[in-house]
Symmetry: C2
Subunit: 174 residues, 2 copies
DNA sequence: TACACTATGTTATACTATAACAAGTCAAGA
DNA sequence: TCTTGACTTGTTATAGTATAACATAGTGTA
């Protein structure tokens, strides 16, 4: 059990209750939860959470922060998996397609999704002070976006919403 | 005067009236307008729209679509400017900071802003069918985003909002 | 077993971006 | 006018991110 303030040691993407994104909580529990649900989901969809894929997901969950593809790759190499970029990218792409991980474009990085399976429209809050990344519920944002797009006759399929700013801790410090 | 359907020949980022984003209009006029306003803005701010910077802005305006930094660089080289990446990146970064251009992260590309100076919170609609990119007004989206973030104690400074989907033309074709 | 399908490993390369320093330009004040 | 300092550009070099293409190996099924 690892209780900690997310912002201090950098980043927890979302976690069980979204409004705890920037607060202390039992991360180990929500991480193992996410893994369990990921496995159930894959079984349900008839897809395989193979060793590489599972390990990549675990790495992201353990890391507890956004990681670059090459950081993930380095971890894989150390554990005897293939050591070329496609190994990491393929697993990361798979996880993203399945909604088990998210890509943070601003950081060229990936983060585990903490509530896979639940239909959600995540938005990401990136702290410029401590580099923490929080996954926040973005239903309202996505609805607003859908309306704006609809007005132009544009049919939205997927969205990227990322905000740069200051987390509570860094804001207080400044 | 070049009247054209934006989507057909790919992309017009915004243009004068936002709701014309995916419709035919006189692009040459709004482009030269944007350039004029850019120059006025720079004068107002006591900053210099140097030859490289101006040329890069023109290239983006003429291109009428999102361009990669290296595409811009190739154009610069052909015109006798420096031929190394920093030449393009510096100009593009400057233009972005000044709100004269936008970065489309999903495409690793840049597009001219069609209404510089006006305070606006642009969102980008990227068509997966024809690669058109439209700059749409995103005030409502940004407000929703601000609220969601505020609820978590997060102070938003800058946002990236990009939607992938189908423009009217491609949607109709399908 | 043979087959089709999926996943992984590997080679090679393409694309995107920035650090660091040298050289030139420009405007303002001595 | 000359100097100074800030800013801009050019250049070298390298770092970081991502994918195409093909070979190999595992998986489930007829």
């Amino acid at each position: 059990m690892t209780d900690h303030p997310h912002v201090a040691d950098a980043v927890c993407p979302g976690c069980e209750t979204p409004d705890l994104a920037f607060q202390a909580h039992d991360h180990a529990a929500c991480a193992s939860d996410a893994l369990t649900r990921a496995e159930a989901l894959m079984a349900l969809r008839g897809l395989r959470l193979t060793p590489v894929r599972k390990r990549v997901l675990e790495i992201l969950l353990e890391a507890h922060q956004a990681m670059g593809a090459y950081d993930v790759l380095n971890r894989l190499v150390a554990e005897g998996f293939g050591n070329q970029p496609p190994v990491a990218y393929r697993a990361l792409d798979f996880l993203e397609e399945q909604g088990l991980a998210h890509r943070i474009r601003r950081l060229n990085a990936f983060a585990a999704c903490m509530h896979p399976g639940e239909s959600h429209a995540p938005i990401f809050l990136i702290c410029t002070g401590c580099n923490a990344v929080a996954e926040a519920p973005g239903a309202a944002v996505v609805i607003a976006l859908g309306k704006a797009a609809h007005g132009l006759g544009f049919a939205v399929e997927r969205v990227t919403v990322e905000a740069l700013g200051r987390c509570p801790t860094c804001e207080a410090a400044a």
